[in-house]
């Protein structure tokens, strides 16, 4: 549904194969066979890399939580594939696929999760919270998110405001989840960007849940995309598990932004098949729901069927891509595992440009002190038990 289309008046006839931001399907129709296979590659890489991360998580090599995008690969990959390198994208936690499309590498992601010293954030931030933005052509154009939801919408309003102010031919894309639409930052950011006519695409990935909270408890609106009308901007909803549909709807919104059409809102309908993070047992999900999505609406299965039945792609071609992906992830894993953890004193550098580093507090001067082996042990330091003598004295006093 392109709300910009003039009601009641038939769109002028266009020759087949002509791209038009207001004509659904006109962007995907121009994808080459090679590009379609590339989309498959990015989706497969996303899934295989996450499966590798699960293995490393179970080996306790992933230091923090692990966030999956199982079943959402098409929405991340297809939408980000609509951007050019000079454009800037800000992902959310389930947009590993978008990060990879924009140039993040498996080895960077693995090092991030494993808190390595030569990870993109040198061990300061977790998982896919990292970025690479700056001058067009010199950077890959993705901006690391922070955990408070919705905050990246105002920030991307500012990034795209700078494009507009400098007359740069660049567009921004920011992902939010269904839950983030309830934040003040989402509202303020999208409204600010709309009023300022920033070249920004806002993608709502509606995967049904924000942690354990279903969308029915986030909003009474029937569709998130209906919020577009409230901001005076075009909005369009698409099947988030159809990679060509997510590409098409985003490509058209990006083109609109590039032509000075300002902000567009996109809602991609998908489903979160894993919990908020690996620890989440999804006890709040109705029985059978996950299994039904897995069996009937897996984005990779669907795309493989289309490629092989409609686009004459041979199974052997896909198997070759799968093998290439596995090899890349294997190699990246070896490199990441061999990497060292950061040096502790690096923790004190780079809060400000000046001074470049803070001094250690006196009780840590010269590398003195710090955590002991017993504090690091699995039963940790939160289980202090007074020795028997102290215990008996206390109980005598109590008595």
């Amino acid at each position: 549904m392109a709300t910009r289309a003039k009601g009641g008046r038939a769109a002028p006839a266009r020759p087949a194969g002509t791209f038009d931001p207001e004509t659904p399907g006109s962007a995907a129709a121009l994808l080459t066979r090679e590009q379609k296979l590339e989309l498959y590659y990015w989706m497969r890489l996303t899934r295989t890399l996450e499966e590798r991360l699960v293995a490393l998580y179970r080996q306790t090599k992933v230091v923090g939580g692990l966030f999956r995008s199982l079943g959402q690969e098409a929405d991340a990959v297809g939408s980000c594939y609509a951007l050019e390198q000079r454009d800037v994208m800000s992902p959310l936690i389930r947009n590993l696929g978008a990060m990879l499309v924009k140039g993040a590498t498996p080895v960077e992601v693995l090092k991030q999760y494993m808190a390595k010293g030569d990870s993109p954030t040198r061990g300061r931030e977790l998982n896919i919270h990292f970025g690479d933005i700056g001058e067009a052509g010199e950077t890959r154009g993705f901006l690391g998110q922070i955990s408070p939801l919705g905050d990246m919408v105002p920030v991307m309003a500012g990034v795209t405001l700078s494009f507009r102010m400098r007359g740069e031919d660049r567009v921004g894309l920011v992902y939010v989840g269904d839950g983030a639409t309830s934040t003040g930052a989402f509202h303020e950011g999208i409204n600010f960007a709309a009023v300022q006519r920033c070249p920004l695409v806002v993608v709502i990935e509606n995967n049904g849940y924000a942690y354990s909270t279903p969308t029915s408890r986030q909003t009474l609106a029937k569709r998130f995309v209906d919020k577009a009308a409230g901001y005076g901007i075009p909005g369009e909803q698409a099947d988030g598990n159809d990679v060509l549909a997510t590409y098409d709807v985003t490509k058209r919104a990006v083109a609109r932004a590039r032509r000075g059409g300002g902000v567009s809102l996109i809602e991609l309908m998908t489903y979160r098949r894993k919990g908020h993070a690996e620890h989440d047992n999804q006890s709040y999900v109705p029985a059978g729901e996950i299994e039904r999505w897995a069996a009937e609406n897996d984005p990779l299965d669907r795309y493989v069927r289309r490629l092989t039945t409609e686009m004459a792609v041979e199974a052997t071609e896909l198997a070759a891509i799968d093998a290439r992906v596995t090899q890349e992830v294997d190699e990246a894993t070896d490199v990441a595992e061999a990497s060292a953890f950061p040096e502790a004193l690096d923790a004190l550098t780079g809060v400000y440009a000046e001074p470049p580093a803070a001094s250690p507090l006196w009780f840590r001067e010269g590398g003195r002190g710090g955590v002991t082996a017993s504090e690091r042990a699995t039963d940790g330091w939160g289980v202090y038990k007074p020795d028997a003598k102290t215990e008996s004295r206390v109980s005598q006093e109590d008595a």
């Binding site: 922070i146 494009f163 303020e188």
Partner: protein, 325 residues
């Protein structure tokens, strides 16, 4: 040179920095056509146009967030909070996003958030606040709070040129009451350096912003009535604190009174006291005393506001107690 008010000094800094660097731009509520609630930005729109003087929706989170995004891309945004009280609406964006950007992501975030602060103006609970302490507590932010017109201009220019985010508190009581003579040329005052506002040898008053003037009045009175020589140290920058200047005045007078308009508990006076304990305890001849606002939301009625806020007589009383210790 002609004298200019504290407010005009801030405006001069904005004009000069926008002229110097095309990446500097201003954004905030009612700052363009109207010239700002206090007219600080008056004339900017006419000279620099809507591209660089942006009237925004009432959205402090979006204003600060957008400034951060633009700053990442090489711009130098200067945000106006219509009243600094509303910075609370951008607290998340400033503390979680802006303050951490360089550390967690190596992202430059050179931006200024400035706005009218402080009481003594019958502004009531939401137009009188001094919320600096919460930001001084946040690694990654710098906090500046000038008391003179010269410092207002010089520090704002330094803030706009700084590579990190600087919160620039302007005392609205001083806007049109305080005047100064601007040094010729490119007048920049370095961030992080305190200023001895009055030399003295018997005791030191460490303070900043409007209460610098209360302290100076008190010092005058103490000299006349008690023969006391009072040093007044104007901090000017609250983050980073000028430890050297604090220690120097402690070593000089051995008696310290800290005065601030902010509320008492968790206020900066506590932090300064702790630093003096750590760095110069053996130089003290008396415990460090504090004169601050009461821990009360600031009330509207003159009788109430005047009671809650620190006044010159309070400073005199505390200084006498300190001298007699």
């Amino acid at each position: 040179m002609a004298e200019v008010t504290y407010l005009e000094a801030i405006r001069e800094a904005l004009f000069e920095e926008m002229e110097r660097d095309a990446n500097v731009f201003c954004l905030g509520e009612d700052i363009g056509a109207y010239g700002g609630a206090f007219k600080v930005t008056e004339g900017l729109l006419a000279k620099y146009g809507e591209q660089r003087v942006i009237d925004t929706p009432i959205s402090e989170t979006a204003i600060v967030g957008a400034a951060a995004g633009a700053a990442h891309m090489g711009m130098r945004p200067v945000v106006e909070m219509q009243f600094i009280d509303f910075i609370a609406n951008a607290y998340d964006m400033l503390t979680n996003y802006v303050a951490t950007a360089r550390y967690r992501a190596f992202l430059p975030c050179p931006m200024v958030v400035r706005g009218p602060s402080g009481g003594y103006v019958r502004g009531g609970p939401f137009h009188s606040q001094n919320p600096e302490a919460g930001f001084v507590h946040t690694p990654g932010l710098k906090v500046v709070y000038p008391s003179t017109a010269e410092d207002a201009k010089g520090l704002l220019k330094a803030a706009i040129r700084d590579e990190d985010c600087v919160l620039f508190f302007e005392h609205k009581y001083l806007y049109r009451r305080i005047k100064g003579t601007m040094p010729a040329g490119d007048h920049v005052v370095p961030i992080g350096k305190a200023r001895v506002a009055r030399e003295g040898s018997d005791l030191s008053i460490i303070t900043y912003a409007a209460t610098v003037w209360k302290a100076l009045e008190a010092a005058e009175q103490l000299e006349k009535e008690d023969g006391l020589s009072v040093e007044v140290l104007d901090l000017r920058t609250l983050a980073p604190l000028d430890d050297d200047a604090i220690v120097a005045t402690v070593k000089k007078t051995n008696r310290v009174l800290i005065v601030h308009e902010d509320t008492r508990t968790g206020g900066i006076a506590g932090e300064i006291t702790a630093r003096i304990n750590e760095m110069a305890f053996e130089w003290l001849d008396a415990p460090v005393l504090r004169v601050t606002a009461h821990d009360i939301p600031l009330p509207y009625a003159p009788a109430l506001e005047d009671f809650v806020l620190p006044q010159t007589a309070d400073v005199v009383l505390a200084a006498r107690r300190l001298a007699d210790y």
